[in-house]
């Protein structure tokens, strides 16, 4: 009986937290749209926003000036959407990878996707391509990075138990970053500026194309990951147990990694390398809802969105500069992760 009580109370607890989290996130999204540098009162911003979202609205209220409408529709909406999607993409990817690899130090750059995307983007800047083409190049680069990692891992004669994959991901990533460095070396001053800031991760260039580029993989891929998330629970046992439960471990691994690569490639393509979110958010979410992936994955998605929204709101209102978001996530994420690891010192992670 006591065990049941405990199970039930944790069940309620995690569900309760999830509900609250969803509510908070939705409210935050709406609130982010109403704040900004331009002097626009909240109520007016809210009205304009509602009018914009609702597909069946009537004509524009003449009280609103053109500038105010532009602020909401062209500046804030793409930006907030981009922020949310970046957070969701990285949160889900990080959690999925950590669960699959049974390793808490794994990040979305596991299979060299982020480095590949960075390389594609750098190549595009060096060749003076338009912003839109750069996104495509970065995406292509990311997928190429993944293919390279798989190729390297498949060279190894040992059974692919994930370790090989991680290692090849690290090496491929290092190689691609060396190529990025080479590009930086040959760039002239204007290009170097753009490359460097893009590599640090930025939401400044939010526009419709970019939002669509990241929205589709994140929503579609994210949903796919959500559908199979209970299998992640099973994957966290070791391989033999999982297979005895009827899960095709190799296939699931491939699927998860491919989806994650797709999502991360699109994320890096639109906003550069945003560090730490994929590493910190899963831990944080785990502290809130426990290690059950059925609650953990949604929680990470929501927390990721919240985190990036909060940082972005900070940049847009309080801080007097457009600081690249990767810088801020590093600054804020590092103490958090130190704290988390400190607390976890007593608990082992990987069973020996």
């Amino acid at each position: 009986m006591r065990q049941n009580d405990k199970a039930i109370s944790s069940y309620i607890k995690s569900n309760g937290i999830l509900t609250i989290l969803t509510a908070i996130t939705v409210i935050s999204v709406i609130a982010s749209l109403c704040i900004g540098t331009y002097p626009l009162p909240f109520s007016k911003a809210f009205e304009i926003m509602m009018h914009f979202i609702w597909p069946w609205s009537s004509d524009y209220n003449t009280e609103w000036t053109a500038k105010e409408i532009i602020i909401i529709e062209l500046i804030r909406m793409p930006r907030v959407l981009l922020a949310v999607f970046v957070g969701v993409a990285l949160g889900i990817s990080g959690t999925a990878l950590q669960g699959m690899m049974r390793n808490p130090l794994v990040g979305p750059d596991l299979v060299g996707v982020a480095s590949g995307a960075a390389f594609g983007g750098v190549l595009a800047v060096m060749m003076d391509m338009s912003s839109y083409t750069m996104v495509i190049m970065a995406f292509g680069g990311g997928m190429m990075g993944m293919v390279m990692t798989f190729a390297l891992a498949s060279l190894s004669k040992s059974e692919s138990n994930g370790m090989t994959l991680i290692l090849s991901g690290i090496f491929v990533g290092a190689f691609l970053m060396a190529c990025v460095g080479l590009g930086q070396f040959f760039a002239n001053d204007g290009q170097l500026n753009e490359i460097t800031f893009w590599l640090l991760g930025t939401l400044t260039r939010a526009n419709e194309e970019r939002v669509w580029t990241i929205a589709i993989p994140t929503l579609v891929g994210g949903s796919a990951l959500m559908f199979i998330r209970w299998r992640l629970n099973i994957l966290s046992l070791n391989d033999t147990d999982a297979m005895s439960l009827g899960i095709n471990v190799r296939l699931i691994r491939w699927v998860i990694i491919s989806i994650v690569a797709w999502i991360v490639a699109s994320q890096v393509a639109v906003s550069g390398i945003v560090a730490w979110i994929g590493l910190v958010i899963p831990h944080f979410a785990r502290m809130l809802v426990g290690p059950d992936h059925r609650s953990l994955l949604p929680a990470s998605a929501l927390l990721g969105a919240l985190f990036v929204l909060a940082i972005d709101a900070l940049t847009r209102t309080v801080i007097q500069e457009e600081i690249p978001i990767g810088v801020l996530t590093t600054l804020i994420g590092t103490p958090i992760i130190i704290l988390i690891f400190w607390k976890k010192q007593t608990k082992g992670w990987i069973s020996d």
């Binding site: 939705v26 540098t37 532009i70 529709e73 500046i75 909406m77 793409p78 002239n188 400044t204 847009r316």
Partner: protein, 375 residues
């Protein structure tokens, strides 16, 4: 095993649907922006007609606006503290000290919304940079911010300057000033050509620009000065086949090129001359190393200083042909253009007399009958 809980599924499904819904809103057509102040058409750098406010209240972006239009009252925002620092390196900051000291001018908008908060009759020239990313006039026009591109990818330096001057002056409704500025600019080169007689020159010395910020020789870079078209009057370019300009270089390359004259950019002459690596260079042995500054040659598109910088180089490279006329030229130019008289001390500062006094032939740039003596 499955235990689908409405809370768990609901949390993410609701959220994803919500986000999808918001994303679809981006597909809605945007409002047409009707300007509410009188506008007129200006041809921008590509000769494309653009609608600009008739009465421009201010310009964002210092760039070369001041030298090309002489309208300090119209400079609204000139870029942040870094912009102010760069501004103070030019002679024009002496001429318009109010601009230099006005804090309002050097507070820059830090994101798009702040830019949008300015009045409608503020115009942005060329690009603004937020967080390292450049936003051009296309991006800004789309957001209803008036922005104009004063010249696009024009290769020829002269055409670039002409286009800039024309667009800026048309924008602030003084089109006739275009001719004044351009005439003065071309006159400077005509006079130089007349004095130099370049077609008669047979012996052209090999000149390159060298610099190593903070004496960190790992960052040694070389500039081919003759790449700037305006300098080609006076300089030769046998270095063409060997050197990529502006790139970081190996010290050995400079030794193998062994130029006749070296212009230093960003390095102190003292440090360069005393470094053991460069002792073998004939430029060092003949003292033909000269420290350059922003006040002499300006930047690549500095309409005031390009003729002056070219003249400086011509007097250094061909001292036998050119009479020492640089000080008078500079004084006369600034007096004609801005009504500003440069004192002797200021001229010494501009020409870096103190740093270059040991260089070969630099005596010609000093005050006549002054106390500075060269070796």
């Amino acid at each position: 095993m499955f235990s689908i809980s409405p809370f768990r599924e609901g949390s993410w499904v609701i959220f994803f649907v919500f986000m999808g819904f918001m994303t679809f809103s981006l597909l809605r057509p945007l409002p047409v922006i009707v300007p509410n102040i009188p506008m007129h058409t200006v041809l921008d750098g590509d000769n494309t007609p653009v609608q600009m406010p008739l009465a421009v209240k201010g310009i964002v972006g210092w760039g070369s606006f001041l030298p090309m239009t002489h309208r300090p009252d119209l400079l609204y925002k000139g870029g942040g503290e870094l912009g102010r620092k760069i501004f103070s390196m030019y002679i024009i900051s002496w001429i318009y000290p109010d601009v230099l000291n006005d804090n309002a001018v050097w507070g820059t908008p830090y994101n798009l919304e702040a830019l949008l908060a300015y009045d409608d009759d503020i115009v942005v020239i060329n690009n603004v940079y937020f967080g390292g990313m450049a936003f051009g006039s296309d991006d800004l026009q789309r957001l209803g911010i008036h922005a104009i591109e004063t010249s696009s990818k024009i290769e020829n330096d002269d055409e670039y300057l002409k286009s800039n001057v024309r667009v800026m002056n048309t924008l602030v409704k003084q089109p006739q000033f275009t001719h004044t500025v351009l005439d003065r600019y071309f006159q400077g080169f005509l006079t130089l050509e007349h004095d130099l007689q370049p077609q008669k020159i047979t012996d052209r010395p090999n000149v390159i620009g060298v610099g190593a910020p903070s004496n960190n020789w790992a960052r040694l870079f070389v500039i081919r000065i003759d790449e700037v078209k305006q300098n080609q009057l006076a300089l030769s370019s046998p270095t063409k086949q060997e050197l990529a300009s502006g790139r970081q270089q190996d010290p050995e390359r400079i030794l193998s090129i062994d130029p006749d004259i070296i212009m230093l950019l960003g390095t102190e002459r003292r440090d360069f001359m005393s470094d053991p690596r460069w002792q073998g260079l004939k430029a060092v042995q003949t003292n033909k190393v000269y420290e350059n500054s922003m006040k002499i040659s300006g930047s690549r598109y500095d309409i005031d200083n390009l003729p002056i910088g070219a003249r400086w180089m011509a007097e250094i490279t061909h001292p036998e042909i050119m009479r020492p006329k640089l000080r008078e030229t500079i004084t006369k130019y600034y007096s004609d253009a801005y009504g500003y008289t440069l004192s002797d001390t200021q001229l010494d500062d501009i020409l870096l007399i103190d740093k270059n006094k040991d260089a070969s032939g630099y005596k010609r740039f000093m005050r006549q009958g002054g106390s500075c003596e060269a070796k």
